[in-house]
């Protein structure tokens, strides 16, 4: 009896250990590129391809980081990225909340069609409309400007859908009660809707922030002068200028990875559940 239970327990232990080893192996394989990026960023250019591979450089060149930061003028691009991403995020959150509330809490002619139209834009990624969108922005005189980077991406179907979903789960009685108490439409939205919806607002804000900060294509098309460029553009132009300076390239890449990594570790729950529930990013 007791030996049988011990055998069962042993087998369970063995299975768990095998599973752990397998998971550890896969995780290591997935993380090797990132580790390699950081490890190379601390080497000198002559020793990049040394064999056997030095995973931990014997004399780490920490000075690569200040050099990379200064060479790329990171501060300027960080400020630009912050301006663009901040504006896009705020606009998206406000507009998504309004539209989500309108679609969830009001009955009006054509709201089903409206919802379908908004859904349909999910099939219209930037890359499909980049040519006419570029011409439109050129026509508006917004090339090489902040508004050119911000306004065209300031409304996003995903944000609207997430907010609508959230407001649908909000009991109508609450809103009816506020109306009976004499609150106006905007007042009810601001005093009842927004405070109750802050978890959804936060998730939308984080997802939009992340995808906007990470976006390369649209700023790349719109911006031609370095003074307006965002971090991804700076990284790309450094890469095309310094193709073979691997330690510097990796240091620049590591620095550029810091903001989104910090964001991920702070808002891990929202980011993962956001990706999981919407099944979409960007």
């Amino acid at each position: 009896m007791s030996s049988a239970t011990t055998a069962v327990r042993l087998r369970a232990h063995a299975a768990t250990i095998a599973l752990l080893l397998l998971l550890t192996g896969v995780t290591v394989v997935f993380l090797v590129p990132i580790f390699w990026m950081v490890s190379t960023s601390l080497k000198s250019n002559q020793h990049v391809f040394d064999l056997p591979i030095q995973w931990f450089p014997r004399r780490p060149l920490w000075s690569n980081y200040p050099t990379a930061y200064a060479t790329v003028h990171f501060t300027r691009y960080l400020v630009n990225s912050a301006i663009v991403t901040g504006s896009v995020t705020i606009l998206n959150v406000v507009l998504s909340a309004l539209a989500g509330y309108g679609l969830a809490k009001y009955r009006f002619l054509g709201r089903h069609v409206l919802l379908l139209l908004i859904l349909a834009t999910l099939m219209l990624p930037l890359e499909v409309v980049m040519v006419p969108l570029y011409l439109t922005v050129q026509h508006l005189g917004w090339l090489n400007s902040y508004q050119g980077m911000v306004v065209p991406v300031s409304a996003n179907a995903l944000g609207v859908l997430m907010m609508r979903q959230y407001f649908l789960s909000l009991p109508d009685d609450l809103i009816a009660a506020a109306h009976i108490d004499g609150a106006g439409h905007l007042g009810t939205f601001l005093r009842i809707g927004v405070p109750l919806a802050w978890p959804a607002l936060l998730t939308v804000a984080i997802l939009i922030f992340q995808s906007t900060w990470d976006d390369f294509v649209w700023p790349f098309l719109v911006i031609s002068s370095p003074s307006k460029a965002t971090v991804p553009l700076a990284v790309q132009s450094f890469q095309s200028a310094e193709t073979s300076n691997f330690p510097m390239l990796m240091a620049v890449s590591s620095i550029a990875s810091v903001p989104l990594t910090v964001l991920f570790f702070v808002f891990q729950r929202q980011i993962i559940s956001g990706v999981a529930t919407t099944g979409m990013r960007h």
Partner: protein, 291 residues
């Protein structure tokens, strides 16, 4: 059965709340879309203001353009391989993490990290890893295999793009799968266990059927993301060697913004839209039939 409506019914307010988003989507999604349809029927150029209506000439030209046909083939191979790898690997990882393992949260966090690396860094990093003397070839040599000239051979360039894209896409698929797996009631597995079903059997008869809606979400998500993205190809291979890794979206970018042929690029962009819509509609249909 209609649900009881307690909320406000004033039509103007509902429309007013939605109006700002609608205006922006019309200006920057629907208008460009129709504009693209019109442009594709003209000889519009980025440098020349004068445009002429030329009918379907651009589409006829596309059907003869070997670069475009090549881009379609490359896209099919690139997207097909990337999706296959990330969907299978993502599912395998999700199933592993969904077991009762210690520190599964830590594994989930660590495995998600490739999706956190900035998109622009991904091709720069992998270009370096696929360097002739880089880490990938070192690993191949250590395994007793021949090194590959990744970025300078037609096969290798597409292969390298697939690996880099799948590396970034797999964690996203994994997370979507995990949400799907966690919505499967545990009692189903308990009952199957009592009936003596093994792990493989349980996966086949419970996990896969219950996961069908999730699988479809992942397919649409992964295809759309892979078809549209050209940053990796642009930075890693530039579409080379000899256009071997030029995908459809890269073709649109190169024709429009480097070749200045906005009309011709718009025609190619519409073909790309057609592909995305076709895949989405087919998947949605499959969804409906299931329900």
């Amino acid at each position: 059965m209609r649900r009881r409506w307690l909320g406000p019914t004033q039509p103007w307010w509902g429309a007013a709340f939605t109006a700002p988003v609608l205006v922006l989507l019309v200006c920057f999604k629907f208008w460009p879309m129709s504009y693209a349809a019109w442009l594709s029927l003209t000889n519009a150029s980025l440098t020349d203001r004068a445009r002429r209506f030329i009918g379907v000439s651009n589409y006829v030209r596309l059907s003869h353009d070997t670069t475009f046909i090549g881009a379609l083939e490359t896209t099919a191979r690139y997207v097909g391989a990337t999706i296959a790898v990330s969907m299978v690997l993502g599912l395998a990882l999700a199933v592993l993490i969904n077991q009762k393992v210690p520190a599964r949260g830590v594994f989930r966090t660590l495995l998600f990290l490739p999706a956190v690396v900035p998109l622009i860094v991904v091709p720069i990093l992998w270009q370096f890893l696929f360097h002739p003397y880089g880490l990938v070839n070192n690993a191949l040599k250590a395994l007793g295999l021949h090194p590959v000239n990744w970025l300078l051979s037609p096969q290798g360039a597409v292969g390298a793009l697939v690996v880099a894209t799948a590396w970034r896409l797999t964690p996203l698929c994994m997370v979507i799968y995990l949400a799907g797996l966690q919505s499967i009631p545990g009692e189903l597995y308990e009952a199957a266990k009592v009936d003596g079903a093994g792990a493989v059997r349980r996966f086949q008869s419970i996990t896969l059927p219950m996961l069908k809606p999730t699988l479809l979400v992942v397919v649409v998500f992964a295809i759309t993301l892979t078809v549209q993205n050209f940053v990796l190809a642009l930075v890693m291979t530039g579409g080379g060697p000899d256009n071997a890794s030029t995908t459809l979206s890269l073709f649109v970018y190169q024709t429009g913004f480097l070749g200045f042929q906005m009309g011709y690029a718009s025609a190619a962009a519409l073909v790309m839209l057609l592909i995305i819509v076709a895949f989405t509609v087919v998947s949605l249909r499959a969804f409906r039939i299931e329900e």
